[in-house]
Amino acid sequence: MRQWMIAAALLPLLGGTALAQETVKIGYIDPLSGGGASVGEVGFKTFQFLAEELNAKGGILGKKVEIVPFDNKTNPQESLIQAQKAIDSGVRYITQGNGSSVAGALTDFVTKYNERNPGKEILYFNYAAVDPVLTNAKCSFWHFRWDANSDIKMEALTNYMKSAPDIKKLYLINQDYSFGESVRSAAKTMLKAKRPDIQIVGDELHPLLKITDFAPYVAKIKASGADSVITGNWGQDFALLLKASADAGLKVNWYTYYAGGTGGPTAIKQANLNHQVYQIAEGIPNLGNASADAFEKALRAKYDFSLFYPRAVNQMRMFAAAAEKAKSLDPAKVAAALEGLQFDVFDGGKGTMRKDDHQFFQPMYIASFGDRTEKEPFDEEKTGWGWRQAAKIEPEQTMLPTTCKMERPN
């Protein structure tokens, strides 16, 4: 942590121009302080690991890949300052994932910047901000998203819940911003169509990454008599919610987007919710794919966390593939090469970057967290428990239509 802070501080002193010829810099704009820091730091190290993987194979078009961190404190305004700072230090590619509010601001910024600075375009790789609007009403040619958007995830999750007869009373608890809002409204409309018998007994929005004690919220869930909860909470908002549930002895089934994030598995084990917490994601350890397993082992040997972002792996490998295909590191050419690109994804199977909206489609997995059989070699956060596949959703079943009217540069 401290080392890279110092490194980041010293970097400009080393003379950027000479270095810029040799490296392709990716600006990592995500929280490295405050409530989002725990996930932001894992993301940063994951990207560093991926850069090393590419560099070991000779980099991209012979140039070394370097990830430069910029702390945005999960704040949209701060992100724009950091993006400008990144551009000033010679960055042409930025990546960000935590917070759709940030992503919305960044995609606007990048689009406007590129209009005003032809020939100096910036490309924005979004690895985790899942508000559907980013690939619909607010889509941009300069924005590519590797994570399935919130509606796709909810579609898959509710398809799975459709056949779970023990759900009678459902509670929704989400973070109070665009993403949490889209989770709750998608859950309500989709469940109304698929399972009208489920009664929604609570619909909560709480401040983003500001709550340190969820006990009052858990007391409310308890009082509502809910047997299942849907939450899109991520980072400390998920870990602390589960921690408070463990303390209060709340026993419900959890349908989540990000249960595997830092602190999540520990809290689930503490709450003793054996295979009662489900997560929808584009990949988990324990799927049995040989190359994914090898990657997982290498990552764990180096850091004390597991791979939470298979989407980041797809993103970086596809970036390399697109640059080789375009035979250029010019963002405009890379963007054109990425459109419609087919790719063998990290956990096996094919994925496609849809040309219409720059949304990546890939196989999705619903998994539950709990005790393991011999088929599940990986545990999480030294709890002894691990992920087990509950369902696989093929890309074709996740192809929701888009309202995006893509404006391409001429």
């Binding site: 490295l32 820091a37 500001k210 002895g249």
Partner: protein
């Protein structure tokens, strides 16, 4: 419903007592030095990080005593070598000094312990459910937090009301010059009060650290609410700080458990307004606005009773 009521009351009182531990020091320091200590919440954070580090080395129980002593000594030093010098240049300089100190402490904490949360755990001897109420467990550690803060509150009350030291402190609150003329060393009293006040905040930090999240933004998260407590209770009034802490603790906790909204009270809005800003206001629940409740209270108090609930003076 009864279950929710009882659990929410417990949670609210607990949060309130935690606030009081910090606000008590802040309000006494304010009435003595006439300056709002912006760095007060930073000592709460220092308490948590000292507690974390010491409990790593020699265990939680020694940390519970050593960390507040360290933070208190640091606080006393800040008063003796910092504030007292700055005092010559007037209140604005003092205010700016504590303001800057808060930033400096945050940066130093980030340099030493990093920006992400540290793994400060509840000690194993307190990691079990204290009792079961209806079907909800109440953690033993939270009971412990409650007992510690009540014990400190009672101790503080006894010292201030019954002991000679308390007598002098109370006198120095209102008539510092007179106390000086009577032969007491007012400077030393100020230093001690500052030290004890920051030590109290540090105790709150040590016991809250494992239950909440120990990270470098914890001072910034709690700081603003502290000022609300002090203003609502009445500047310089300890009983006022006590009442205001409990009030804000309970208001925040109960607001979270309420679902009422304008739409619930008056029926849904006509569809003509569905896409306007009015629908946002109409649909927002009390639970959603829980975090801003203390600040609404602050504004109301400043308008209708500027001296605070139990305060006596208006400045």
């Amino acid at each position: 419903m009864l279950e929710l009521l009882v659990i929410s009351t417990l949670n609210g009182v607990l949060f309130g007592m935690l606030l009081f531990l910090m606000a008590s020091g802040l309000t006494v320091i304010f009435s003595m030095l006439g300056v709002l200590n912006f760095a007060h919440a930073s000592f709460y954070m220092l308490g948590a990080f000292f507690g974390f580090q010491i409990s790593r080395w020699i265990g939680f129980w020694p940390a519970l005593f050593i960390a507040p002593l360290l933070a208190g000594a640091l606080g006393a030093a800040v008063e003796r070598f910092g504030l007292r010098r700055v005092h010559r240049n007037g209140h604005v300089a003092e205010l700016l000094f504590t303001f800057g100190l808060a930033f400096a402490i945050e940066e130093i904490v980030q340099i030493i312990w990093g920006k992400s949360p540290v793994d400060f755990r509840v000690p194993a001897s307190l990691d079990f459910p204290a009792f079961r109420l209806f079907s909800t467990n109440y953690p033993a550690y939270k009971m412990f937090m409650l007992l510690v803060s009540i014990a400190i509150f009672v101790g503080l009350l006894v010292v201030l009301k019954k002991s000679r030291v308390g007598l002098i402190v109370q006198a120095a609150l209102t008539h510092p010059h007179m106390v000086g003329h009577l032969g007491h060393n007012v400077g030393r009293i100020f230093m001690l009060v500052f030290g004890v006040g920051t030590a109290l905040a540090a105790i709150a930090g040590v016991i809250a650290g494992p239950a909440l999240v120990t990270q470098s933004n914890m001072a910034a998260l709690l700081g603003p609410i502290l000022f609300v407590v002090v203003v609502v209770g009445g500047l310089g009034s300890l009983p006022g700080a006590f009442v205001a802490s409990l009030l804000i603790g309970l208001v925040q906790t109960f607001a979270v458990s309420m679902n009422g909204s304008l739409a619930g009270a008056f029926g849904p809005l006509s569809p003509d307004y569905a896409q306007t800003w009015l629908s946002d206001i109409w649909g927002v629940t009390i639970a959603q606005i829980a975090p801003i409740m203390p600040y609404v209270l602050l504004v109301l108090i400043l308008i209708f009773r500027p001296m605070g609930l139990l305060g006596t003076r208006e400045t």
